[in-house]
């Protein structure tokens, strides 16, 4: 591949990521989510097909995890100061959850009760997937798209990826040797002294993962990204779901011990 062609592929991959950001940003006015949050309950809002893709996948995961994974935890993140409060629309109703999001077979979505959706736990992985699609369509055979915490590789590598576990004094450094796959890491350790971390268990709406580090490897980065939150919430009970996605997880607990879950590698 020539240099000009490679630059074109890379530029288009960045554009694909910017497009996902513009559509699914929590706080940018005009994003699909902002339009949805501003709508009155029951009002149908036509969303972009990509937003619909992500939302549908999120709701599928909510169903499979009994709500442990829930994109409507934005209310708790706003309360904890981790997201800015939307300026238009109603405040979220108490107890509103993923079951209050109504999706048709087409691209229209409505909310049964006022609620705030944050796709921060899944959309970054989706953006990485779209960038990789673009690179593939240009015939790129070897690449790594790294969005910081979420990455996907092209080519068998092996790609050596060190995991930042945010431990204060680690005795060991974890490293993953990755073939062609996606990998995501989530940890709340940087927030361990704060009351609220960036990860909320959808079932009881409380902060989780303040002393954990979770890495998931799956084919699609959207799945790897979202499954880190599932593993954080459900720990060993997430093993079946990981296998369903042909994924493997490495979970480090507060004491620094590692557990492998999901498909065996």
């Amino acid at each position: 591949m020539g240099e000009a062609r490679a630059h074109q592929a890379i530029d288009e991959a960045f554009s694909a990521i910017e497009r996902v950001h513009a559509l699914m940003s929590f706080h940018e006015a005009g994003s699909d989510l902002s339009r949805l949050h501003a709508a009155v309950p029951g009002e149908r809002v036509i969303l972009d097909v990509q937003t619909v893709d992500v939302l549908r996948e999120a709701l599928t995961l909510s169903g499979r995890t009994d709500g442990a994974f829930d994109v409507t935890v934005a209310a708790q993140l706003v309360a904890g100061g981790l997201l800015p409060a939307p300026t238009s629309g109603s405040l979220p109703a108490d107890g509103a959850c993923w079951k209050d999001i109504d999706m048709d077979d087409d691209r229209s979505v409505s909310l049964r009760r006022p609620l705030w959706i944050d796709l921060g736990g899944i959309a970054k992985g989706y953006a990485v997937d779209r960038a990789v699609d673009v690179l593939c369509s240009h015939g790129v055979g070897h690449a790594c798209v790294n969005a910081g915490g979420d990455l996907r590789t092209l080519g068998e590598g092996p790609h050596r990826v060190a995991i930042a576990t945010d431990e204060t004094q680690p005795s060991h450094y974890p490293v993953i040797e990755l073939g062609e796959a996606s990998m995501a890491t989530s940890s709340g350790r940087a927030f361990s002294t704060a009351a609220t971390g960036p990860h909320i268990d959808g079932r009881h709406r409380s902060t989780m993962g303040l002393n954990q580090s979770v890495t998931v490897i799956a084919e699609q980065c959207m799945h790897a990204d979202a499954l880190t939150k599932v593993v954080m919430a459900m720990e060993t009970q997430s093993a079946d779901l990981l296998r369903h996605y042909n994924a493997v997880a490495y979970l480090q607990d507060a004491a620094g011990h590692w557990t492998q879950l999901g498909v065996s590698t």
Binding site: Y173, E180, A181
Partner: protein, 176 residues
Amino acid sequence: MKSRFLLIPAYALVISAPVQATVYLSVEQAQALMFPGATFTPDFVTLTPDQMKAIEKSSDVNVLSPDLKVWRASTGGWFIADQVVGKHEFIPFAVAIDAQGAVKAVEILEYRETYGDQVRNASWRAQFTGKTKDAPLKLGGDIQNISGATLSSRHITDGVKRLLATYALVLANQKS
């Protein structure tokens, strides 16, 4: 999903650089590191009692096993995976020998003992590069001793000496 999880001890990263030198290597990884881009054909050898005696005489090192795990590199040269005794445990290591019979590189594949893993230090291992069967390979002579890792460094040095003798007496005469 093809992946492999490794835990690298933090102290190993402090002691030696580059990072690759501290990773516990599989045979395949060591091959790729020592002969970049080459493919490998296994050419495992079982030494005869006479060959073992000749190697011992030439290197002044005991031969522990008649089984020799050898691969030919497509780019020329040989890759040998072997082991020596450390203090209590075996130390699996690998030697790459170039087409002229000189050491290209030495890698420690695994280190199981509590002390003495300074033999994984890249600059210590680099002392072997270019050595042939005619080199003295004496600890404290042409190979520096590592204080605190005397046994491991002596046994690795002896192991390289033994494998160079093995190369000269056995491998160099093999038909390709």
